[in-house]
């Protein structure tokens, strides 16, 4: 598999606390994405990055922020976690994007109690 890892794999946190999820790649791919997966909704884009310090919002960005200070790392932060942010979060990477498809990480299961 491509070198993409997500950490942590599982996390339980309390409402109102900040949470940061990490996506790390060793493929030197330009594009990185954060999706959340919820039953009945499929995967929905939260934020994406098209280079170091270059990020943009996706469909469901409210309550989330991202940072990319190095090519290999893309961080997703929940500013103040809410129960509606309980979900499985997937990171994805691609180089040119359209022709090659995404490579996905194994996901982070986040529970906000």
């Amino acid at each position: 598999d491509a070198g993409i890892t997500q950490s942590p794999r599982h996390k339980v946190t309390e409402t109102g606390t900040p949470v940061t999820l990490r996506c790390h790649q060793t493929e030197n791919h330009r594009y990185m994405y954060w999706y959340r997966q919820d039953p009945g909704h499929g995967l929905r884009l939260i934020h994406y990055s098209y280079g170091v310090k270059d990020t943009d919002k996706g469909e469901v960005s409210d309550g989330y922020s991202v940072s990319r200070s190095k090519t290999e790392d893309f961080l997703l932060t929940l500013e103040s976690a809410t129960s509606s942010q309980t979900s499985v979060y997937f990171c994805a990477i691609t180089d040119t994007g359209r022709g090659y498809g995404y490579t996905f990480g194994s996901g982070t299961r986040l529970t906000v109690v």
């Binding site: 999706y35 499929g42 995967l43 929905r44 884009l45 943009d56 359209r98 995404y102 490579t103 194994s106």
Partner: protein, 114 residues
């Protein structure tokens, strides 16, 4: 706006039977289309992709898909299903003019019975 529809939330087939999973897309230009498979507790794995050329594309694990522009469809097929094919299947289209975002359908869950 681009979107993907997978009309079947859940499909059950017998092992050895043929399979067809439906996918319809909405996209203004020539679409780049993908099928992914997700086993329980796992990430998504690329099955196959289409972006030009022959409208019948072959993928891994014996899957194929046919692009039909007139019907805005990209249905996934397999002639003989194996028990290990039980999983969730997602169709996706990429928006090349907005950061190469992928738009996913809501998925079709496949159950295979002996």
């Amino acid at each position: 706006a681009q979107s993907v529809t997978q009309p079947d939330i859940h499909i059950t087939v017998s092992e050895g039977a043929s399979l067809e999973l439906r996918c319809n897309y909405s996209y203004g230009a020539t679409p780049y289309l993908f099928w992914y498979v997700q086993s329980p507790g796992q990430g998504l794995q690329l099955l196959l992709k289409y972006f030009s050329g022959d409208t019948l594309v072959q993928g891994i694990k014996g899957f194929e898909a046919e692009f039909k522009r007139s019907q805005s469809s990209f249905n996934l097929r397999k002639p003989s299903v194996h028990w290990s094919d039980a999983a969730e299947y997602f169709c996706a289209v990429v928006a090349v003019n907005t950061g190469n975002q992928f738009y996913f359908g809501t998925g079709t869950s496949l159950t295979v019975i002996p």
